[in-house]
């Protein structure tokens, strides 16, 4: 199994498309950092616009620190990273079928279940490596460029602030949560990959599902909010932000607090549930699949 996994990882990292994701992510993050470095005042102005009438302007250099830049990057990127995850996970089985090597692999002395486990594990490793790269660029590089200070998180009707020594553990948990969300997307693309003999199909369908679900998540139509939205995995993928929503007593942030931990755990459970369903369907189908290519 381990040697098979090493081969699968080798195959993933031998394909140029794998590096497209890393290159795209790097480019986007660097562009955002440059934009915020030279034009961050406008962004902070927008962020604080709700309280401009009541309070004196807070200096940009205090608000726009490495922690906030990382939050902004994740806010923008965690919708798009799933698309890059789909590039690899959607290709895992369908790519082999497309190249005509799936039958060859299936004839090896490993069961089909083991083969799928190895293939999916390789996709998960790729996903985690991509996330670690994002964490490095978005958090570590942003801290190096912008320094650290208290983190202010704007919400629709609230503004949450936390002290600088109360932030890193939140990011650690947020990235762990993001990993669960991205693995769920990988599982979806992987499941679709099992059904197809061409990798374009699963990748495009996964991307379409993410786009449609994200739009439904962000639409503020009460009918969808009460019926469809709670069941979409994209709704729960935003759960990483929950670690930055704090509790307060008399307006004072409670250090180390999370506003609604049970909701985050519920979202994580939903994502794990979806992952299990997607993988279950993939295993069930692949075991019975008549492999002709």
């Amino acid at each position: 199994m381990i040697s098979l996994l090493k081969i699968e990882i080798f195959k993933i990292f031998k394909k140029p498309r794998t590096y497209i994701a890393f290159a795209v992510i790097s480019l986007i993050i660097i562009l955002i950092q440059i934009a915020l470095k030279f034009g961050g005042k406008e962004y902070v102005g927008l962020m604080m616009s709700g309280m401009g009438d009541s309070f004196e302007e807070i200096p940009t250099k205090i608000v726009l620190n490495g922690y906030l830049v990382c939050f902004i990057i994740l806010n923008l990127l965690l919708i798009h990273i799933p698309i890059l995850v789909a590039l690899v996970a959607g290709d895992a089985i369908a790519g082999e079928a497309n190249m005509g090597t799936l039958r060859l692999i299936a004839s090896k002395p490993v069961s089909r279940i083991q083969l799928l486990i190895v293939k999916f594990t390789a996709s998960v490793i790729y996903t985690l490596m991509l996330l670690i790269w994002v964490a490095f660029l978005a958090l570590i590089v942003s801290i190096a460029l912008f320094g650290v200070n208290w983190l202010g998180v704007p919400r629709e009707l609230q503004f949450n602030v936390m002290e600088s020594d109360d932030v890193l553990w939140r990011y650690a948990l947020a990235f762990c949560f993001a990993a669960i969300g991205l693995i769920c997307v990988a599982a979806l693309a992987f499941m679709l990959s099992v059904f197809s003999d061409n990798s374009i199909g699963p990748i495009v369908v996964t991307v379409c599902v993410i786009i449609v679900f994200t739009i439904l998540t962000q639409l503020q139509i009460p009918f969808y909010d009460e019926t469809i939205k709670p069941y979409l995995f994209t709704t729960h993928m935003l759960g990483w932000k929950g670690f930055f929503y704090v509790k307060a007593v008399d307006g004072v942030t409670q250090k180390g607090s999370i506003e609604n931990l049970s909701a985050i755990l519920k979202s994580a459970a939903v994502l794990i549930g979806y992952t299990a369903v997607f993988l279950g369907i993939a295993f069930w189908y692949f075991k019975r699949k008549n492999i002709l290519s």
Partner: protein, 228 residues
Amino acid sequence: MKKMFIIILACCMVSELLAQTPQELVNKIKAKLEKVNDYTARGKLKTNVVFIKAPIASVKVYYKKPDKMKIVNENGISFIPKGSVNINLAKFLSAAGNYEIVDAGKEPVTGLRILKLLPTDENSDIVLSTLYIDEKAELIKKAKNTTRDNGTYELEMTYGKYATYGLPDKVIFSFNTKDYKLPKGVTFDYDDGSEQKPDDNLKNKKGKVEITYSEYLINKGVDDAIFK
């Protein structure tokens, strides 16, 4: 009985005569405040506004006669109510002859003397100032200021070891807040089931900012560059 009534009446009249006139009281407070040419103070700033959740911030407050004042963050993000920096009672009181003083009697519960100050200068930022004064200590305990641009503010002062200079140990600043709302498309909020929107009772609640001073450095000189 008649004698007793006359004695009580006489006592009341004497105490009234002995009570300070509003102008005398203001002059005494003014004299106390004028002892301070400048100060630097360290403090903790606590924000209690319905839409803000923030830790207690460390601030440094600089003041220089006649009207320079600045609040600087020592660390973290602090929310300073708009216009609060410009409200300076020392400056306002020192503008002798620029306001009319109306004696509004005493507050029933606290016994604080209430004086209403009406600026005669049409360009004054403060339109009306109501001072609640502890006559014995010659200290302003509470002030309600209606300003031209920044609404009505209420200041509540608690004094300690710097009372001789008229400088408070703690100031509670109450003010009207406006609604805070950002587009959902900007914030991409996670719906964790918690109610973000304050209920209607809280919505109209005044915002409060509390500064607790830990130390003052009085008349040691403050560089003008700080106020730029």
